[in-house]
């Protein structure tokens, strides 16, 4: 799902951000294409999902080493375009948090303010910024005005509410379509991810069941109507045949009689 997403966004990314974003149905896809075009023009359009996740793993390692030093308040608009071409990871780290920490947040770390989670995904390679931007858009945008202003123009069609929401709710809102498979052991939110997938499958089964039932009923109704019509016709024919025969019953017939 994600790799096809990449290719479609890669082809749409160069064509223009506004058109690309408004024509897509899924918010993550349109944000991906728009952020792609906005932040870097000829960025890795053909990145496969595996490469993206490898980068995330790489940034986990980077981040673990430099965690204490990375309290950089980042102005994304200025740093992104320059940093993405040179050091995509260092420049985009915001407030020392990356995707994994954010996702692990609800389970491992007590997060005090939602705004802390605001710029968590900065160290992720740009192609996955779609996640971040849709997440961020959901937060109270007080502290990220430039970012949001920038994102707002490109994600105008994202149907996100501005009210502050819990991180878990965001986590489930973030990918509108199915989430990609998480890499081995990298994300703490894998448990709820699996649960979501199971839930979705169950919902799909339920819908299929419902539709199969109504179709089965419709077919049965059609079949029964047909049979009914056929039987009625047969009945009418028999009645006709019966009434046609009745007069002949009362006529006398000569039959052999006994000699005495």
């Amino acid at each position: 799902m994600w790799s096809s997403n990449k290719e479609s966004s890669g082809s749409g990314g160069g064509s223009g951000s506004g058109g690309g974003s408004s024509s897509r149905s899924s918010s993550s896809r349109e944000v991906c294409s728009s952020s792609n075009s906005f932040l870097f023009s000829k960025a890795p359009n053909r990145r496969t999902m595996e490469e993206v996740w490898k980068d995330i793993n790489y940034t986990t390692k980077l981040h673990d080493q430099e965690r204490s030093n990375s309290r950089l308040p980042i102005n994304l608009s200025s740093s992104s375009s320059s940093s993405c071409n040179t050091t995509p990871y260092a420049g985009l780290r915001l407030r020392g948090m990356i995707l994994q920490d954010f996702l692990a947040g609800p389970l491992n770390q007590p997060i005090s303010k939602p705004t802390q989670l605001g710029p968590p995904l900065a160290s992720i390679p740009p192609t996955v910024l779609s996640l971040r931007s849709s997440l961020e858009f959901n937060f109270d945008a007080r502290s990220h005005q430039d970012i949001n202003a920038q994102e707002a123009s490109t994600t105008s069609t994202v149907t996100a509410t501005a009210s502050p929401v819990s991180s878990i709710h965001l986590f489930s809102f973030c990918p509108n379509k199915r989430m990609p498979e998480s890499p081995q052991g990298a994300i703490g939110g894998e448990g709820s991810n699996k649960r979501m997938i199971r839930n979705r499958e169950s919902a799909a089964r339920s819908r299929a069941r419902k539709q199969a039932y109504t179709n089965g009923l419709e077919l049965e109704v059609a079949h029964l109507l047909q049979e009914n019509a056929k039987l009625k016709k047969q009945h009418d024919e028999l009645c006709l045949a019966m009434t046609a025969q009745i007069p002949t019953k009362n006529t006398l017939r000569r039959s052999s009689s006994s000699p005495f």
């Binding site: 499958e201 089964r205 299929a208 069941r209 039932y213 179709n215 089965g216 009923l217 419709e218 049965e220």
Partner: protein, 174 residues
């Protein structure tokens, strides 16, 4: 999108390959006919149903298979498929009582979730050509048909079954 309940309910796919119906099949549990996608509770299907097979030639034999592809749990069907009933050598235009019940009828007793119970009818090449498996679970209708030269099904039907006190596949609260 196909409007065939067998396709919509994923029976064609999980259990069967696409086929064309050629023989009428009527299944009745205590005079209630099985309509594709309808629901029966375990109490209603505890004893074997009456299965009327159509066709024209009495010499043609059919095999009836009844499986549960959602055993033990539709979200985790590790025992797919569970064989509930296997009757062979059913002559055309008769019913299952005239056949050989080589795996006796076992009423469905689903523990979790809503299970599909699938009936499949195959045409046999000759009599006494079909053999029963050793265990009921992890049965494969496709492999069974292939091993016994049954080809594609000639008829199929399914119904849904959940446990007696179930409320739509929800987990039991303890």
């Amino acid at each position: 999108m196909s409007s065939d309940p067998l396709v919509l309910g994923q029976v064609v796919g999980d259990v069967l390959d696409p086929f064309a119906r050629s023989v009428p099949l009527r299944i009745l549990y205590k005079s209630k006919p099985v309509i594709n996608g309808s629901e029966f509770r375990p109490s209603a299907v505890a004893s074997k149903p009456r299965v009327d097979v159509g066709g024209e030639d009495l010499r043609i034999s059919y095999t009836l298979v009844m499986v549960d592809p959602d055993a033990p749990n539709p979200s985790n069907p590790t025992l797919r498929e569970y064989l509930h009933w296997l009757v062979t050598d059913i002559p055309a235009t008769t019913d299952a009582n005239f056949g050989q019940e080589i795996v006796c009828y076992e009423g469905p007793q689903p523990r979790a979730g809503i299970h599909r119970m699938v009936f499949v009818l195959f045409q046999q090449l000759g009599r006494d050509t079909v053999f029963a498996p050793s265990v009921r679970h992890n049965f494969s209708t496709r492999n069974f048909a292939r091993q016994n030269n049954l080809g594609l099904p000639v008829a199929a039907a399914f119904f849904n079954c959940q446990r007696e006190s179930g409320s739509g596949g929800r987990r039991i609260r303890n």
